[in-house]
């Protein structure tokens, strides 16, 4: 009730304001943060989720991608640890790239998608398939790109998004952008919190105990045009969160987890005719504290600090041929009770080239070699072509060799780590077809992947303790479909966006589907707009998955739907209010064994844009 009152108060207070003047400058210029994503991803499936899609989906990257991509998520209950599987690979084989920098944890190798608030990014891009030669370790199944694009000469705008939901869930995000011809500033602040004490459907009295969480993040980006050839760019992000880890139907939990991540990147961008150079340095830090009993002050912790220096030179040899040379150095320091104090330095040289042979056909080649003392590093490469057969039909082909390096935990965990581990390697092929017809777009991609030396923690036959080794081999194949459609008649607008993935991911020895990889996953988003009114329906289907348990072998498939309506009360500026019903049909489901997800629940949102 208090939430509702507060909501109404805000709504009426803010909507009546008359906002400051909105100046318009026509000469807009956008500086991209991830040059390789833009320039050297022409032969693979790339899907961009823009800010309007981002805004519709709740605070975390899990929800955004679960409903808008083929990625499958294994979520330990709402808001808890969430790890993806992309094309049948493991969570550690999906790279998360922040403004061109790989931010997967150096400690455990993965990104928890519930610790990435999506507010504050201009777009989130999903790039399927291998990308190790550009983004380094982990880009095996694919990569997720979080980008801030700095705009010049686009005046001032800001937006506030508030959301109140069931289980005392609250989220707020404020973002501003200001730019003139020489300076561009972006700043964002977001806060999410929830009691998260939903009832377990199908039980008489069980609730999601000890599942409360909060997180705060700050984003900033700054661009300065020194002159027409030189620019300075700065990107910064801070995330701080505390989550209590909820229990399972079989075991209650008392634990909590705190983490703080910082990311800072500075770039000097110089361009002169055919030459473009980017000199980047980045500093990333991650640290966590794990409290087995949240009531005590006793915790286990670890920290990793990464320093990256990168020089990137791009040269247009010919109007149809571009070459790109990148040299980079990464140093990581890890500290923790379980890993001690360890250092790792990696140097790498990358060469990228694209050639447009004719108007319809072209190819790309990427080659990368790393040098480090820690492991044997293979030569990574990728070759791809595109063929625009007609204005309606394009074919893409890509083959690549990718890898994932062992993490600090894999190498150094006290008593269990294995310092002789080598990187995982994978070979993959994909063929994509894209069809365009009026406002229809269909993309169908078939892929095959062979992963070797996969690092797996398995129980040791001698004592049953889990230890990592380069033992597993996996082959994955399947297909992904994306269908989009838009229609506009007078004041009526509608669009459809739908994904489907079919994935077989087999253990090379047992020929069984890997655990927590569904063979089928589909989602559908329908949106309808009439003047200031909007309606949308989201649907998610996840096929059954196998679990490691012999007794409970399967987590059943589930269908979840969300529905939302919104109305824009503003005249000159956006002042949109909305209501969403999540899990509309009250589906009883689990994403992970013994961890029930919430039943039907509600949220109200308010978006102001000035």
């Amino acid at each position: 009730m208090t939430a509702k009152k507060l909501f109404l108060f805000c709504m009426f207070l803010v909507c009546e304001f008359i906002f400051a003047q909105h100046d318009t400058i026509s000469l807009r210029e956008v500086l991209v943060s991830d040059a390789q994503l833009k320039n050297f991803s022409n032969t693979q499936s790339v899907t961009v989720l823009n800010d309007s899609v981002i805004a519709k989906n709740a605070a975390s990257l899990t929800t955004l991608l679960n409903y808008n991509s083929t990625l499958y998520f294994k979520e330990n209950g709402l808001g808890m640890v969430s790890s993806p599987s992309f094309r049948g690979t493991t969570a550690q084989q999906t790279a998360v790239i922040w403004n061109g920098i790989n931010i997967n944890s150096q400690l455990n190798g993965l990104t928890d998608f519930n610790t990435i608030p999506v507010s504050g990014f201009d777009n989130v891009t999903v790039r399927g398939g291998g990308g190790s030669s550009i983004y380094g370790s982990s880009a095996i199944g694919g990569s997720i790109h979080l980008n801030n694009e700095l705009e010049f000469g686009n005046g001032f705008s800001n937006a506030l998004h508030l959301n109140f939901g069931s289980f005392n869930t609250f989220s707020a995000a404020y973002n501003l952008k200001a730019s003139n011809t020489n300076t561009s500033v972006q700043a964002g602040l977001s806060r999410n919190s929830s009691e998260n004490d939903y009832q377990y459907l199908g039980t008489s009295d069980k609730r999601n105990e000890n599942g409360q969480f909060y997180n705060t993040s700050v984003n900033a980006a700054f661009g300065y045009r020194i002159n027409s050839h030189h620019y300075l760019k700065l990107y910064s992000q801070l995330f701080e969160g505390e989550r209590h880890f909820s229990g399972t139907l079989a075991a209650r939990s008392k634990s909590k987890y705190r983490d703080v991540n910082t990311r800072n990147l500075i770039e000097w961008f110089a361009t002169s005719g055919k030459w473009t150079s980017r000199t980047r340095t980045a500093f990333l830090s991650e640290q966590y504290q794990y409290f087995e009993n949240a009531k005590t002050q006793n915790f286990e912790s670890a920290k990793a600090e990464t320093f990256i220096a990168k020089y990137d030179l791009n040269y247009i040899l010919h109007p149809k041929v571009t070459a790109n040379f990148v040299i980079d150095y990464t140093q990581t320091k890890g500290f923790g009770e379980q890993i001690g104090k360890k250092n790792r330095s990696i140097g790498a040289v990358t060469f990228l080239m694209k050639h447009q042979i004719t108007r319809r056909i072209g190819y790309e080649i990427h080659v990368k070699k790393e040098v480090t003392d820690n492991y044997e590093s293979p030569i990574l490469s990728s070759i791809g072509t595109y063929f625009h057969a007609s204005k309606n039909y394009t074919v893409l082909f890509n083959a690549s060799k990718n890898f994932r390096i062992p993490t600090f935990n894999d190498l150094y965990w006290q008593g269990l780590g294995n310092s002789d581990l080598n990187p995982e390697s994978s070979y993959q092929l994909e063929v994509g077809q894209q069809f365009r017809y009026r406002k229809w777009f269909l993309s169908a991609t078939a892929f095959y992947m062979d992963i070797r030396d996969m690092i797996q923690w398995n129980p040791d036959d001698t004592d049953g303790n889990f230890r990592p080794d380069n033992i597993a081999a996996v082959s994955s194949y399947g297909a992904e479909l994306l269908l989009t459609y838009e229609k506009k008649i007078g004041n009526h607008r509608a669009n459809i966006r739908s994904n489907y993935a079919y994935v077989i991911s087999e253990d090379g020895e047992t020929h069984r589907q890997l655990i927590y990889v569904p063979m089928h996953k589909a989602n559908v988003n329908l949106a309808y707009y009439y003047q200031k009114f909007s309606f949308d329906y989201q649907f998610l289907f996840n096929g059954y998955v196998f679990t490691p348990s012999k007794k409970y072998n399967i987590v059943s498939e589930y269908f979840v739907s969300n529905v939302g309506i919104g109305y824009d009360l503003g005249n000159k500026y956006t002042c949109k209010i909305g209501v969403r019903v999540l899990n509309l049909w009250n589906e009883v489901y689990q994403s992970v064994l013994q961890r029930p997800m919430p039943g039907r629940n509600y949220s109200m949102c308010l978006t102001l844009k000035m």
């Binding site: 079989a250 075991a251 286990e300 297909a479 007794k551």
Partner: protein, 366 residues
């Protein structure tokens, strides 16, 4: 438009070229459970940590009847829990200690029907002893805190934890004798080398130093026998296992027997008659209680059953019972061997049973 549809169909065809398959979903024939689980052994299968899939199997004393997952058969709507650790019997009840769930499930020991749950007062519970209407459960506490370990005291009449007796890090097996509790301080998340002695009248705790990582306790004729494993090969310095004999009147070590070879890690001590039996890797060793040194060679080995290391071990009903955890992920096995009395040779395989994941304990419900 037609051309477009053809293109779409062709694309779908080529992208979805790979055949789909679905899981085998055969309807099982109606199974009638045994429902009575007396006169036999309950095998506690730990399950996989975090999966909440511990189970209990039953093997009848005459070896003719066998059933898996009997807790679920008796209680279809109760989840037994995560990581089954120990079972203690008291009267008509069985107390099942669930390490991962931090609880004890109480069942009727003969029907396995659920009676209740104790789910407050535990932190990483391990093993349970019963004395004078009270249950004593060892608890490791939080993994990174060496000083929060204790023995929880349960009032069995009210099925609730009434107090906690602090002990050193990693209290494991617990046994009662004449009002005193003897607790093997395995070390939990590190390596211990003591036995804690708790006077149940005063809850006063004293200690006896034995070898590294004491893992099993037996009482025989006024003596406490302890098997200790030594530190494993992944410790900074591996140490050998052995046996220690303690005089229960004085709580002093009477004899200590150690292997010279640091790779010999002794566990699963059982005293039967005038001999001690224990295991090292896949071998079953026999030690005459009056002998001067530990035997170098096993009585028999379980290697022909593919056992890499004996996980659980018992001697009862004139047989050896060996729990084999296999790869620690899939179903384990229980092998039954002849004891070797009445002229037959010891260690002849009598029968094998495929049980649940990680058979951690064998409890005779006789």
């Amino acid at each position: 438009m037609m051309k477009f549809i053809k293109l779409v169909v062709a694309a779908l065809g080529s992208a979805l070229f790979f055949a789909s398959c679905s899981p085998e979903n055969d309807e099982p024939t109606k199974y009638v459970p045994l429902e009575k689980y007396d006169s036999g052994v309950l095998v506690l299968n730990q399950g996989l940590f975090g999966q909440g899939d511990a189970t209990i199997s039953y093997i009848s004393a005459d070896l003719s009847k066998f059933e898996n997952d009997i807790f679920s058969l008796a209680n279809p709507n109760v989840i037994m829990g995560d990581t089954g650790q120990d079972i203690a019997f008291y009267g008509q009840f069985a107390y099942i200690v669930m390490n991962g769930s931090n609880k004890i499930e109480i069942v009727n020991r003969y029907t396995l029907k659920s009676v209740g749950t104790v789910d407050e007062g535990f932190s990483n519970p391990r093993y349970m002893a019963i004395y004078n209407g009270k249950g004593y459960v060892t608890n490791w506490g939080a993994g990174n805190n060496p000083s929060d370990d204790y023995v929880a005291v349960i009032d069995l009449a009210t099925a609730s934890v009434t107090s906690a007796i602090p002990v050193a890090e990693g209290p494991e097996r617990i046994i009662e004798n004449a009002g005193k509790l003897y607790v093997a301080q395995t070390g939990g998340f590190s390596f211990g080398n003591q036995i804690s002695v708790i006077n149940t009248a005063t809850n006063a705790v004293s200690t006896i130093t034995v070898g590294d990582v004491p893992n099993a306790l037996q009482i025989k004729d006024g003596y406490l026998w302890v098997s200790y494993g030594g530190k494993p090969n992944y410790a900074s310095a591996e140490t050998a296992g052995g046996l220690v004999q303690i005089n229960l009147n004085t709580n002093a070590v009477a004899h200590a027997y150690a292997y010279p070879d640091v790779t010999k890690h002794v566990s699963n001590l059982v005293i039967e008659g005038a001999s001690a039996y224990y295991t090292v890797d896949s071998g079953i060793y026999k030690f005459d209680l009056s002998a001067n040194a530990l035997p170098a060679t096993p009585l028999f080995t379980t290697t022909s059953q593919g056992v890499y290391g004996v996980y659980s071990f018992a001697i009862k009903l004139g047989r050896f019972y060996v729990g084999d955890a296999g790869d620690y992920e899939n179903s384990g096995k229980v092998h039954v061997y002849s004891f070797g009395s009445s002229g037959e040779s010891a260690g002849t395989l009598v029968n094998s049973y495929t049980v649940g994941v990680i058979p951690a304990g064998l409890y005779f419900n006789l």
